[in-house]
């Protein structure tokens, strides 16, 4: 027995700041699973972890940056993508991963998201979508499904939620996928592809929030996972405009877009720093 106790060391422990574990996420919260998929993908993809940075904003998923044992950056609310863009421009060798929530990336940070996608900055954005503002007590968010009950919509949400993959595609992202935390292996594979993809990559991860979203909609964590199992359809290469969040009709999962176009750095170098200009300046010196 003593020997077994010595070996109790989780395979991901070297990528975690163990002194901070157990983390603050509630029992049944899916962020932990999304986070561990992200760590597995980082390790499996073979990217240089010394040159990898994790950036997150504010919110439950924003705590991710504090738990990873790599260079990480916990930024102001909604500003994860601008910080990441700055880091990527200053040092193009870095692999920058943005790990944040739906409220942070799409409500307060919505503008930053669409413009980073338009410029095609070489980032990997993992958005944990739990359909609500979990940390502040479960208020209605831009991603709350129609008719779902929240603290601020006690009779049901009257508005339609964002279709995040469509938004990412329309803004110009070069890799777009959506998975749930139950489809962990596909999710890990997808994050791996996104890390290796050159350009703006976006992955939406549906994740249960049993305490602040589930409780008001009569579902606990396991119920949410069962819904993800029964009411989702995997359809790779589906059209982005067919991906609305509607649990009655079924939610489409999969890898939707993978294309290539010049990144922000490429275009900047071609336009503002063309070869002949740099060589001319050198000659003058």
């Amino acid at each position: 027995m003593k020997q077994i106790k010595k070996q109790v060391r989780h395979p991901l422990d070297d990528l975690l700041r163990i002194d901070r574990i157990p983390h603050i996420w509630c029992p049944g919260c899916g962020i932990g699973t999304a986070f561990s998929s992200c760590l597995i993908a980082m390790r499996e993809s073979g990217i240089d972890l010394e040159k990898t940075v994790m950036v997150s904003g504010i919110g439950c998923s924003g705590r991710g940056a504090g738990y990873v044992n790599l260079d990480s950056y916990h930024t102001t609310h909604g500003r994860a993508i601008p910080f990441a863009t700055g880091m990527k421009l200053a040092n193009p060798e870095l692999n920058v991963v943005v790990f944040s929530g739906d409220g942070d990336l799409f409500a307060i940070g919505g503008n930053h998201f669409i413009h980073a996608a338009r410029r095609n900055v070489d980032l990997t954005v993992v958005c944990v979508n739990n359909f609500t503002y979990g940390m502040t007590g479960g208020q209605v968010a831009a991603t709350t499904p129609l008719k779902a009950k929240t603290t601020t919509t006690p009779v049901g949400n009257p508005d339609t939620p964002f279709n995040l993959p469509l938004l990412a595609y329309a803004s110009g992202a070069t890799y777009v996928a959506r998975w749930t935390i139950l489809h962990t292996r596909d999710l890990t594979e997808s994050i791996e592809e996104a890390l290796l993809n050159r350009g703006f990559s976006f992955i939406e991860v549906l994740s249960p929030c049993p305490v602040n979203y589930g409780r008001r909609n009569k579902e606990n964590g396991i119920d949410s996972l069962k819904i993800y199992q029964e009411r989702t359809i995997i359809r790779n290469d589906a059209q982005p405009w067919e991906l609305d969040i509607d649990f009655d009709r079924g939610i489409v999962l999969g890898k939707f877009i993978q294309t290539e176009r010049p990144t922000c750095t490429d275009r900047y170098d071609n336009t503002c720093r063309p070869k002949e200009l740099i060589e001319g300046e050198k000659g003058l010196e």
Binding site: Q7, P11, I21, P22, G28, G30, T33, I181, I222
Partner: protein, 89 residues
């Protein structure tokens, strides 16, 4: 293992077995590993951990096929499996 028809190569195929390790004090008792274990290896234990949750316990240790699904589904980094043969060697 029970088959409805025994595959022709069932004698040649080696089924890997795994040993499940549980870091009990990290567990928050969500029950995802117990619900989604494909071989139904785990159950809630009756004892409490230091945080007051019931961690999972291994019910049928011989049935684990080392698929690692509990390991990747656990949000708490509290469970993992290791292949049995490498452990013995």
């Amino acid at each position: 293992m029970v088959f409805w028809r025994v595959p022709f190569d069932s004698e040649e195929i080696q089924i890997t077995t795994g040993i499940v390790y549980i870091i009990e004090d990290r567990c928050k008792g969500c029950g995802y590993c117990i619900e989604y274990c494909p071989r139904d290896v785990l159950e809630f234990s009756s004892k409490f951990n230091t945080k007051g949750y019931h961690p999972p316990a291994v019910k049928k240790p011989d049935d684990c096929v080392n698929c690692h699904y509990c390991e990747i589904l656990c949000p708490e980094f509290a469970i993992y499996s290791v292949e049995a043969s490498t452990e013995q060697g």
